[in-house]
Structures are given as structure tokens and as C-alpha cells.
Amino acid sequence: MLEQSGFVDIEIGPPVDTFGGAGGESKARLFEVYGYAFLAHKSK
């Protein structure tokens, strides 16, 4: 969706176990949900 919105030079960081040990952990595991950092640029 970032590319479709016109962003370029997109970078994605490694997964972070955001929900590990929290109440939402079981649901997160079910759908393999992790947190990620994203970097994208608007063209010059």
C-alpha cells in the first residue's frame, strides 16, 4: 500500500514481539502478528 500511495525507497525493519507476554499474545500468535518499523520517502 505504501508503493501504491506513491512512496519510494521503502525499508522495513526486523520483527518485534510486541505482544509477547501480554493479554493479546495468543491472538497475535494465531495470525503471526509482529511490530515492524517502516521507512518510506516522498519523491523529490
Binding site: M1, L2, Q4, S5, G6, F7, E11, G13, V16, D17, T18, F19, G21, A22, G23, G24, K27, L30, F31, E32, V33, Y34, G35, Y36, A37, F38, L39, A40, H41, K42, S43, K44
Partner: protein, 201 residues
């Protein structure tokens, strides 16, 4: 990409407001996500930044990643934080851009805005301000921002195409979007996508 939204955006927004109003009022209430200083450590924020942030400014933090992990902000930059919540990421950003930069946090929850404004005042960060608004219609002029940041908020918006269009509008040419959010490795069934409760629980 389908133009049909899985849930009603207004209904979802009200659900999200209710959830994060509760976090603002009672950050230790026990939610399906971690909060506060332990969460900031878990997500890899610098120890010294976490340590020097007062409780009041960090206890309602509810991010899902670290938007600064792929690069720090630069002194003097103008930054917009989408869904600034309790203000922790704005305070981190304000420290990185320094007194000649500007950070504008946008949030739709008055209780979160009260928290973040108080924290910025307490820390003397005059370069940080907080505005009421929704991220699909940002109260920011076109082409103002060098950087847009966000943390765990865009996934809570039904119309992501509109959110990214707004980000494009407020960014300068060559500007950056640095955000953290969740993504799923396994496909969520269509029926679950239409269940608003599952978006916020």
C-alpha cells in the same frame, strides 16, 4: 486493493477512542497490549531516553515498535506524529530535533492530549505542541513536514488509503515517513476483518 472498507470508519473510530481514553485515564488497567516504561524497553528505545522520561509522560505509551529505529530525526526538522497518544514519541522526537525543530502531535482523544500537553510543559519542550484531529484529515498545512512519524495507529484506521494520502499531502517533497505498526504473517479471515471488536481487542 479493494475500495470497499471492511468496517465503518466512524464506528471504528469511536471504538478506538473508547479504548485509548481508558488507557489515558488508567494506563495500568491491564490491556491486550503492554504499556508504559516496560513496553518502551521491550521495543528497543534507548535506555537513557526511557530512564529520563517522567512517569506521567510514558505510562500511557502504547506503541507497537520503534519509529526511530531506522534512523534518528535531524536537528531543526519539522515532525508530525499521527495519533500521538500520551506523547512519548513526540517527546523523543522533540529531543532529537532540538529547540530549532518543531513537533506537532495529532490525536483525537482529549484525555491523551491533556497528558501529552502536560508532559511537554513539565519537560520544558516548547518545540512540541499537540492538536486535536483525526489522521485521515490532518490539521496540518500542505508541505509543512520533513518527517511524519506514527506508532501503532495506522492499523486502527479503516481507510488506510486516505491516511497515506494525507501523509503525502503534509510531507515536503523528499520528506520521510517513519512509522511503526503491526503486520500479520497469516491472512485474517474476511469475517474477522468485519468484526470491529477484533480491531481493538
Amino acid at each position: 486493493m479493494s475500495d470497499v472498507l471492511p468496517v465503518d470508519p466512524t464506528a471504528l473510530r469511536e471504538e478506538v477512542k473508547t479504548k485509548y481514553r481508558a488507557v489515558a485515564v488508567n494506563p495500568h488497567g491491564g490491556y491486550h497490549f503492554h504499556t508504559g516504561r516496560p513496553l518502551a524497553h521491550r521495543l528497543g528505545y534507548a535506555d537513557d531516553v526511557v530512564a529520563r522520561t517522567p512517569d506521567r509522560a510514558i505510562e500511557a505509551f502504547a506503541g507497537v515498535g520503534n519509529p526511530f529505529s531506522l534512523g534518528a530525526l535531524r536537528p531543526g526538522e519539522r515532525v508530525v506524529d499521527l495519533g500521538s497518544g500520551g506523547g512519548f514519541d513526540c517527546l523523543v522526537a522533540a529531543g532529537q530535533v532540538g529547540p530549532n525543530g518543531r513537533v506537532v502531535g495529532v490525536d483525537m482523544t482529549e484525555e491523551m492530549l491533556s497528558r501529552s500537553r502536560a508532559a511537554a510543559v513539565a519537560l520544558g519542550l516548547r518545540q512540541a505542541e499537540f492538536r486535536h484531529g483525526v489522521i485521515e484529515d490532518l490539521p496540518i498545512e500542505a508541505g509543512w513536514a520533513d518527517v511524519v512519524i506514527s506508532n501503532g495507529v495506522i492499523n486502527l484506521c479503516a481507510d488506510k488509503r486516505q491516511v497515506f494520502a494525507e501523509i503525502m499531502r503534509v510531507l515536503k517533497p523528499g520528506g520521510r515517513l517513519q512509522f511503526a505498526d503491526i503486520a500479520n504473517g497469516k491472512e485474517v479471515p474476511a469475517g474477522a476483518l468485519r468484526n470491529i471488536d477484533l480491531w481493538t481487542d
